[in-house]
């Protein structure tokens, strides 16, 4: 359980988040959506304890401000948007870094094979011996996810559910791997863990998330289940883009083609 209330963050004197309330339950995927620069990444990093903040943030009963890194590493793992390495590690070595201080929760015998298991989970079997810096952006992103999975391999450890924080986990992936990675997140949640993901693809958000939080210029525009958040009015106010929300069986969908012609708008705005 993550409970953040009244979170306010300024970086370099510029206000980024303004009185944001956020809640993420275990056994659920909570997606954060919003336009570029709306404070999504800042919110996620604040929940990791990266930035000083006003307000209250609690992760599994612990005040985020007072949670020492070794302890928080056992409670949640974080996938950044992109990661560059300063030295030439192999793919396996990068994934094994997930074992630095996290608690995967598996017996020693399986621990040795954990990097291989994690790589298989993200469809990168056979990549272990390659150099990370020589992979494509999408492959690097999946290697990092494998590392993150290693850190909290069991979604629930000793009765305590753990969290995956994913910052745009599918941003540089092809459609097959977008679905695969979202399925990995789904499985993690179904096994009792919690997932907080920043997503730009509203359709994936609608399809996979149990709960959505929409941010605009550092404030919460709406939150709740996808069907209640993704409405024509909300899309128009949050993204400044008049798009109709359609309804597929069970989930809402958002097609850029449905954009209404508005006076003075000439640029194509892509949602996905």
């Amino acid at each position: 359980m993550i409970e953040a209330t009244n979170i306010t963050v300024s970086i370099g004197g510029r206000p980024i988040l303004d009185a944001v309330d956020f809640r993420a339950r275990h056994a659920e995927i909570t997606a954060i959506v919003g336009p570029n620069g709306s404070g999504k990444t800042t919110l996620l990093k604040t929940l990791c304890g990266d930035y000083p903040y006003a307000g209250k943030a609690v992760l599994d009963g612990h005040d985020v401000r007072r949670l020492p890194p070794p302890k928080s590493a056992a409670l949640r793992a974080v996938l950044p948007q992109s990661t560059t390495l300063s030295f030439p590690f192999t793919v396996r070595e990068v994934v094994a870094l997930g074992l630095t201080a996290g608690r995967p929760g598996v017996p020693i015998g399986q621990l040795r094979r954990l990097p291989e298991d994690a790589l298989a989970r993200v469809d990168l079997s056979g990549f272990a011996g390659r150099f990370y810096n020589e992979l494509s952006g999408g492959e690097q992103q999946r290697v990092q996810l494998a590392r993150v999975l290693c850190q909290v391999w069991l979604p629930v450890l000793e009765g305590v559910p753990r969290f995956l924080f994913l910052d745009e986990p599918v941003s540089s992936l092809d459609i097959q791997h977008q679905l695969l990675i979202m399925d990995v997140a789904r499985q993690f949640a179904e096994a009792g863990g919690g997932v907080v993901a920043i997503l730009h693809d509203l359709n994936l958000a609608a399809m996979y998330a149990d709960s959505l939080l929409a941010l605009k210029t550092g404030r919460v525009a709406a939150s709740g289940p996808p069907a209640s958040v993704l409405t024509d009015t909300l899309i128009e106010t949050v993204f400044d883009c008049p798009i109709r929300v359609g309804v597929a069986p069970q989930t809402p969908f958002v097609l850029p083609q449905s954009r209404e012609k508005a006076a003075g708008r000439t640029t194509m705005t892509k949602v996905a």
């Binding site: 070794p70 950044p80 990661t83 300063s86 997930g98 996290g102």
Partner: protein, 366 residues
Amino acid sequence: MAQASLITQGILERGRPEGDRTGLGQLAVFLLALLLAIVMVVSMTTGASGASAWRVLAHAFGFVPLEGTEAVRDQVVVLNIRLPRMILGVLIGAGLAVSGLVMQGLFRNPLADPGLVGVSSGAGLGAVGIIVLGTTMLAPLTALLGIYALQIASFIGGLITTFILYRVATRSGQTAIATMLLAGIAIGALAGAVTGVLVYMADDNQLRDLTFWGLGSLSGSNWTKVMSSGPIILAALIGAGFLAKGLNAMTLGEATAAHLGLSVQPFKRWAIVIVAAATGASVAVSGGIGFVGIVVPHLLRLVIGPDHRYLLPASALLGASFLLLADAVSRTIVAPAELPIGIVTAFVGGPFFLWILLRRRSQLAW
């Protein structure tokens, strides 16, 4: 590089998962320990005087009586000249290589080196300050610290420069390579200028001390220097061993290292203290010896990869061997005179550094 390590990997890593180079790291540490042992023996048995270390050893174990002035002289040469020099060579070589490695990991930058970015100049300023002002302005300090005065002054000089460098060159956990090198030049120049003023103030005796000290040499080694610098370098080396996991995590960047469970701020403070201690205590004895901290870690990274759990001990061992060999060259190449060891390491390190730059230029445009 990829090919070289992949080939050796194929031979050595059978039965290990693909991409796991720990076996290679362990083998390298073992072989380098062997190499150091050989180099240490060579260093003890060769020298300008032709004294026999074996005979001294045999006497120590009671096999040969100590007879004649020559035998006594040999004992003095081996025990009071060669032995302390060898010990200091090992410690300083290991200390410089490990300082370079820790700085490179801390700055996430393979070109960081205490000599290159002004840390040695800062440590040198501390040492010169004690040599010149130790009998006047800083007399209470030298009286208080005794034989450690020079070492502690160098340590503080190195600590201040490393700290300033880190503050100037690092923004939100990322160090810009150009900023770091340029800041290093500026800090080094500033420290050099203050050192110049101190040298100008020095009297004849102090000038003589300064010249000997500044050449970058192990030639003045004695047991006092071993006792004053040795424990500091040794402590720094042992401390560096605890940084290995953290340095690995730092490869992913500061924020990610914290998410992996590293307490980043204390880690950085310790790393800076360790670099300054090893560099300071080395500079206090031998003046500035450049490039060991660049050449040794870089070569090893090419062979065994960047895992600091093996890179740290391997760098310490190879750094020690490298400096002892450089010292052997400096003692013999213009015998009976001696070439300062800094010149020897610069002859190897200068071209090596250019080679790294050329290689990287083709990979990345920075």
